[in-house]
C-alpha cells in the first residue's frame, strides 16, 4: 500500500498535513524507537517530523528554549551548551539522534532521571496539532505556570496517538561545573544494599544505576565539592572514582545495554532486585528510580511482564524481536478515559494507535478487555460529526469495524490524497513523497 509522506517544516504546514489529507496517519520521528511497544499499523499518510527542526526562541537568561519538535535532542544540547546550559535529560537513544518529541511521546528517560526527572518534568509548553489540523497550545514559556490544563503531560507517553507535537518549550538547567562517577563491581543485591546506605546520606547522586555487574553513582556540582563527595562515596561503597574518560566509557556501556534491551520495567525500587533476579539476562537497574531494562530472549518477554505485573509494576516491550510476546504488561486502570480523550481529540480515529495494541479501541472491538462501558455511544456525537472525519482506509478490516463504531458517518468525507502534497495556503509547502508502506 502506498502512503503519502509529508514532511512539514513549520506549524502551518504541520496543520495542513492533517487538514488537507484524509485517511489514517502515522507520526514518525527519527525512527530510534521504531520497535518499541506495539508495532505500528499501516497508514495512508505518514507525517515525518524531522523537518520541524530548529530553535524557535531562546533567551539564555530565562533558561527556557522553544524548539521545533523534530529537533534531535543532541543537536539542541550542542546549541544550549554554548551558553553553559543543558536539557537535563540523557536517555540512551539521544546519541542515536532521537527527536525531542519522540523522546516525549515515548516517555523515555535516562540515568539523570533520579536528579531531574524525565521530559514530563522539563516540558513547560507545547503546540500540538490535532488530528483535524487544529493547532492547540498548552503551557507557555515560563517555568512556573498553572493556567489551564497541562496537555503536554497528555503528550508524554502518547506514542503519536493523540496529536502531533509541532513545537515544544523546555526548561533548561545550568551545565554542572563538574561531574564525577564512582563505580563498584558487584551483584545486583549488593548494589541494592549500597543504594540504601548511599541514599541515607545527603550525597545527592543525580544517577544511581546498576549496569549489569557494575554499580555507577554519578554526582554533579563544583569541582572541589564533587571531589570531596566522590571520596566519601568511595569510602561508603569500597568502589573507585573514575577518571573522566573511564566515566564516559562506563556510561556509554550503560547506554548500549539499554539500547539492546528487549523490555523496560518500572517497579518499586525495593522489589526490583527480586524481579530482575528471576531472569538470567543482561540488565540495567535504576535502583533509586525503580526503572530498569532487561535483555531477555524473545520467548521470555511475557514472563517478564508477568513477574513485573505481580510485583505491581509496569513493563513494555522494547524490541520487535519479541515474537508473539505482549507489548505491555499491566494495562492502565483508566482505559476508558484514555479512550474518551482519544474520541474527543481524534473522533475519526485517524492517528495510529497500534502502539497501544487494543487499549484505545472501543470496548466492543477489544474482546480481550472485560466488558465495561459501552464506548460506542459517543458522548458528543454532534461535535464529532461537525469535524472533518475521514475513512479509515488502513486496510486492516478489524480496525475498520472498531473505528466505525465511534466514527459517525460524515457526509463531507474527503478523498484520500495519497501522493499529492497539500495545496498551499500560505506557509511552507510540505514535501510530498511516496513510500511503500507494508
Amino acid at each position: 500500500m502506498t502512503a503519502t509522506i509529508l514532511t512539514p517544516t513549520d506549524l502551518r504546514s504541520a496543520c495542513e498535513a492533517f487538514a488537507e489529507t484524509g485517511g489514517t496517519v502515522r507520526i514518525q520521528g527519527a525512527g530510534t524507537a521504531a520497535s518499541w511497544a506495539g508495532t505500528t499499523g499501516a497508514a495512508d499518510v505518514v507525517v515525518d517530523t524531522t523537518g520541524l527542526t530548529g530553535i524557535r526562541s531562546y533567551n539564555p537568561a530565562d533558561m527556557t528554549v522553544s524548539v521545533g519538535a523534530g529537533t534531535p535532542l543532541d543537536q539542541l544540547q550542542d546549541e544550549v551548551a554554548q551558553h553553559g546550559q543543558r536539557v537535563a535529560f540523557d536517555a540512551a537513544r539521544v546519541r542515536r539522534g532521537a527527536t525531542v518529541a519522540g523522546l516525549i511521546a515515548t516517555a523515555d528517560s535516562g540515568p539523570l532521571a533520579l536528579g531531574y526527572g524525565s521530559m514530563r518534568d522539563l516540558v513547560i509548553g507545547a503546540t500540538v496539532v490535532l488530528a483535524d489540523g487544529t493547532p492547540a497550545r498548552t503551557g507557555g514559556h515560563v517555568i512556573k505556570n498553572v493556567a489551564g490544563y497541562d496537555l503536554a503531560k497528555l503528550m508524554h507517553g502518547s506514542y503519536g496517538a493523540y496529536g502531533l507535537m509541532a513545537e515544544v518549550v523546555l526548561r533548561l538547567h545550568p551545565a554542572p561545573e563538574a561531574q564525577r562517577t564512582v563505580a563498584l563491581d558487584c551483584t545486583l543485591p549488593e548494589a541494592a544494599d549500597h543504594t540504601r546506605s548511599l541514599l541515607a546520606e545527603a550525597q545527592e547522586p543525580v544517577s544511581l544505576e546498576w549496569a549489569d555487574g557494575t554499580l555507577l553513582v554519578r554526582i554533579e556540582g563544583t569541582t572541589d565539592g564533587t571531589t570531596a563527595r566522590a571520596r566519601r562515596l568511595v569510602e561508603l561503597t569500597g568502589g573507585r572514582a573514575l577518571s573522566d574518560d573511564e566515566a564516559a566509557e562506563s556510561w556509554q556501556r550503560h547506554a548500549r545495554l539499554v539500547d539492546d534491551a528487549t523490555v523496560r520495567v518500572g517497579c518499586r525500587p525495593s522489589r526490583l532486585p527480586g524481579v530482575l533476579g528471576r531472569f538470567d539476562s543482561p540488565a540495567v537497574a535504576g535502583l533509586a528510580t525503580g526503572v530498569a531494562t532487561l535483555s531477555v530472549p524473545a520467548a521470555q518477554v511475557d514472563h517478564v511482564h508477568d513477574a513485573v505485573t505481580e510485583a505491581g509494576g509496569t513493563s513494555v516491550r522494547r524490541s520487535a524481536s519479541g515474537g508473539q510476546a505482549r507489548s505491555w504488561g499491566q494495562q492502565p486502570s483508566a482505559l476508558h478515559v484514555l479512550r474518551a480523550i482519544k474520541r474527543e481529540l481524534d473522533p475519526a480515529f485517524r492517528l495510529d494507535a497500534e502502539r497501544f495494541g487494543t487499549w484505545l479501541k472501543p470496548a466492543a472491538a477489544a474482546s480481550a478487555e472485560p466488558a465495561g462501558r459501552d464506548t460506542s455511544t459517543g458522548t458528543t456525537p454532534s461535535r464529532a460529526a461537525s469535524r472533518t472525519a475521514s475513512p479509515t482506509a488502513s486496510g486492516d478490516s478489524a480496525d475498520e469495524t472498531a473505528h466505525g463504531a465511534v466514527t459517525p458517518d460524515d457526509a463531507a468525507l474527503r478523498p484520500v490524497a495519497r501522493t499529492q502534497a497539500p495545496t498551499d495556503s500560505g506557509g511552507t509547502e510540505p514535501a510530498g513523497t511516496e513510500q511503500e508502506d507494508s
Binding site: 497528555l154 545527592e204 486502570s333 481529540l345
Partner: protein, 483 residues
C-alpha cells in the same frame, strides 16, 4: 435546592453523620480564600473513605447534581467556591497518613492530610516533602494536587506535579481509577499529570502517593537589602547567569517589608526599597562555595545590608517575615487583593515598573512580594472598600495579571484560574487552545458536573465574547503563530 431523591441518595452515600444540611453551618462553606465570590451550597458531605467519595459522586452523577471538592478552603482563585444547587464534597475527614516508607522514600496519604503534616511525619526518617506553599500548615495535599501548588522552594525542587507518583481518582461518574504508578514509567499518556493542576474539574484525588526527599545536608539563608527593586532583580538575573539554582529567591518591596515588620518584627530594614531572601541548600562543600558567590553578586549590585542567618532560629525568623507578608498587608490597608502572575525572569524589572505606573494611574498602592527566582509575582493591590475603591482595585489587579501575559508570561503561577480568572483565559489562550482543553474536560466529565464554571471561560460567567482577543507577544514577534 436538591430534590428529595438526590438528597437521600447523598445521605445514603456517606451516612447521616457525615452530612451537613443546617443552613448556618452550610454558610461556612460558601467561599474559599477568595472571599469575594460566595455561594451557599445545598449540602455538604464529608466522606471518611474513598469508597464514600465514590458513592457520593455516583449519586451526583445519577441525579445530575453538580459537585465541588474541597480541602482546607485556602485556595485563592475561587476554585472551591460551591456552585448553585450543588454539593460540596469536603475531604476534611480523610486525614490519615496511611504509610511512610523510608526505604522506597514515599508516603501514602488521604487527601485531607495537610502539606506540613507530611514533612512532620517523614522527618523522623531524615526525609521531607518538597513542595511548601506558604499555606502549608493548613492546606491539604488534595488541594495541592488540584492547584499544582508550589512554594518558595519550587525553583529548585519543582511543583506538586513533580512529586506525586500516583493517586486514585474518583472520576466524575464515580468510577475509581489509579493514575500514575510505583515509578515514573507510564502506561500510555500521563493522565496523572493532566489531572494535577486541573483545579478539581476532572475528578477527586483520594489515595495519594508522594515522593519524599532526603533532607539536605546544609541550608544557608541570607537577607539582603538593595537600593531599588531593579538592583534586586539584577541580582536574580546574575545568579541565573552564574549557573546557581538557589533553593529559594524571594523578593519584597518596601511596602511589603513595612507590613511584614509591623506584623512579626522579623528584623527587616524598614527603610529599604527592596530586599531579597536567598537560600541555598545541598552538600556542605558545594553550598559554601556558592554562598560566597551569592554574596559577591549581592555586593556587586550595591547591597546595603547583608544579614546571614547563623542559626536555625534566625533562619526561621527571616522566613517568618516573608511568609507573613500576605496577611500582614492587612495592617497597612483595610482591604487588599492578592494577585498571582508570572513573567519571564528577565522581565522582572520591567513588570515592576509598569505595575508601579499602573498603580499610580489608578490612585492605588501595590505591594510586591514574590518568588523572584521563577518570575512569579504576587502583587497586593491595597484599597479601601468603604471609600468605594473595590471596583478600581479589581480592575487594576486583573490588568496586572493580563500584563504578565503580555510580557510573555502566565495568568497564574500557583493560585490557579478558578472562578477568578476564567474570563482572562482568552488573553493567554486562543479559541482552539481553550476548546481543546474543553474537549479533554468533556472526555472526563461529559455531564459537566465536576466543579463546573471554573477554569475555562463560559458565556454565563464572561458573556458571549469572553474578553477581547489580543495577540500573544511571541505571536507578534513571529515566534509562535496561532493560525
Amino acid at each position: 435546592m436538591l430534590d428529595r431523591a438526590a438528597h437521600d441518595a447523598l445521605v445514603a452515600a456517606v451516612g447521616t453523620e457525615n452530612v451537613i444540611s443546617d443552613p448556618v453551618q452550610l454558610r461556612s462553606y460558601e467561599c474559599d480564600g477568595l472571599t469575594g465570590f460566595r455561594q451557599i451550597p445545598s449540602l455538604v458531605v464529608l466522606p471518611r473513605a474513598t469508597e464514600h467519595v465514590a458513592n457520593a459522586v455516583r449519586a451526583c452523577h445519577r441525579h445530575g447534581v453538580p459537585f465541588v471538592a474541597r480541602g482546607a478552603g485556602t485556595g485563592l482563585s475561587g476554585g472551591a467556591m460551591p456552585v448553585a444547587d450543588g454539593v460540596v464534597i469536603s475531604l476534611q475527614r480523610m486525614r490519615e497518613i496511611v504509610d511512610i516508607d523510608p526505604v522506597d522514600r514515599r508516603a501514602v496519604l488521604q487527601p485531607g492530610v495537610t502539606n506540613l503534616d507530611i514533612t512532620k511525619a517523614a522527618a523522623a526518617h531524615g526525609l521531607y516533602y518538597a513542595p511548601d506553599p506558604s499555606s502549608q500548615q493548613v492546606c491539604t495535599i488534595g488541594g495541592n494536587i488540584a492547584e499544582n501548588s508550589g512554594g518558595a522552594h519550587c525553583l529548585k525542587y519543582g511543583f506538586t506535579t513533580n512529586h506525586v507518583l500516583s493517586m486514585t481518582v474518583v472520576l466524575p461518574d464515580g468510577e475509581i481509577v489509579t493514575l500514575g504508578g510505583d515509578t515514573d514509567e507510564q502506561l500510555g499518556p500521563d493522565l496523572r499529570g493532566v489531572v494535577i493542576g486541573s483545579e478539581g474539574t476532572l475528578g477527586i484525588a483520594c489515595d495519594i502517593t508522594v515522593r519524599l526527599l532526603r533532607t539536605p545536608e546544609t541550608v544557608r539563608t541570607l537577607l539582603a537589602d538593595f537600593p531599588s527593586v531593579t538592583a534586586a532583580g539584577d541580582v536574580v538575573s546574575d545568579l541565573v547567569a552564574a549557573g546557581i539554582i538557589p533553593a529559594a529567591v524571594e523578593m519584597m518591596d518596601n511596602l511589603a517589608i513595612q507590613a511584614a515588620e509591623k506584623a512579626v518584627g522579623a528584623g527587616y530594614t524598614l527603610s529599604t526599597p527592596a530586599a531579597l531572601v536567598v537560600e541555598l541548600d545541598g552538600p556542605e562543600s558545594e553550598c559554601e562555595a556558592q554562598f560566597a558567590e551569592v554574596r559577591a553578586i549581592c555586593d556587586r549590585h550595591g547591597c546595603t545590608r547583608l544579614h546571614i542567618a547563623e542559626t536555625a532560629a534566625e533562619r526561621a525568623r527571616i522566613w517568618k517575615g516573608r511568609k507573613a507578608a500576605f496577611a500582614a498587608v492587612g495592617r497597612i490597608s483595610p482591604d487588599y487583593i492578592v494577585q498571582d502572575g508570572v513573567v519571564p525572569r528577565t522581565r522582572l524589572a520591567e513588570v515592576l515598573n509598569r505595575i508601579e505606573n499602573m498603580g499610580r494611574d489608578a490612585g492605588l498602592r501595590v505591594a510586591n512580594v514574590f518568588h523572584a527566582g521563577d518570575g512569579n509575582l504576587h502583587p497586593l493591590v491595597l484599597f479601601d472598600e468603604d471609600a468605594g475603591e473595590l471596583e478600581r482595585a479589581e480592575e487594576l489587579s486583573t490588568d496586572i495579571a493580563e500584563l504578565c501575559v503580555e510580557l510573555g508570561g502566565s495568568l497564574s503561577g500557583e493560585h490557579g484560574i478558578g472562578t477568578d480568572k476564567a474570563c482572562s483565559m482568552p488573553r493567554m489562550f486562543g479559541e482552539a487552545d481553550l476548546s481543546t482543553m474543553d474537549r479533554v474536560r468533556t472526555a472526563f466529565d461529559p455531564q459537566h458536573l465536576c466543579n463546573p464554571g471554573k477554569l475555562l471561560p463560559t458565556p454565563r460567567l464572561c458573556g458571549e465574547q469572553p474578553g477581547r482577543y489580543r495577540p500573544h507577544p511571541l505571536e507578534e514577534a513571529g515566534v509562535i503563530e496561532r493560525l
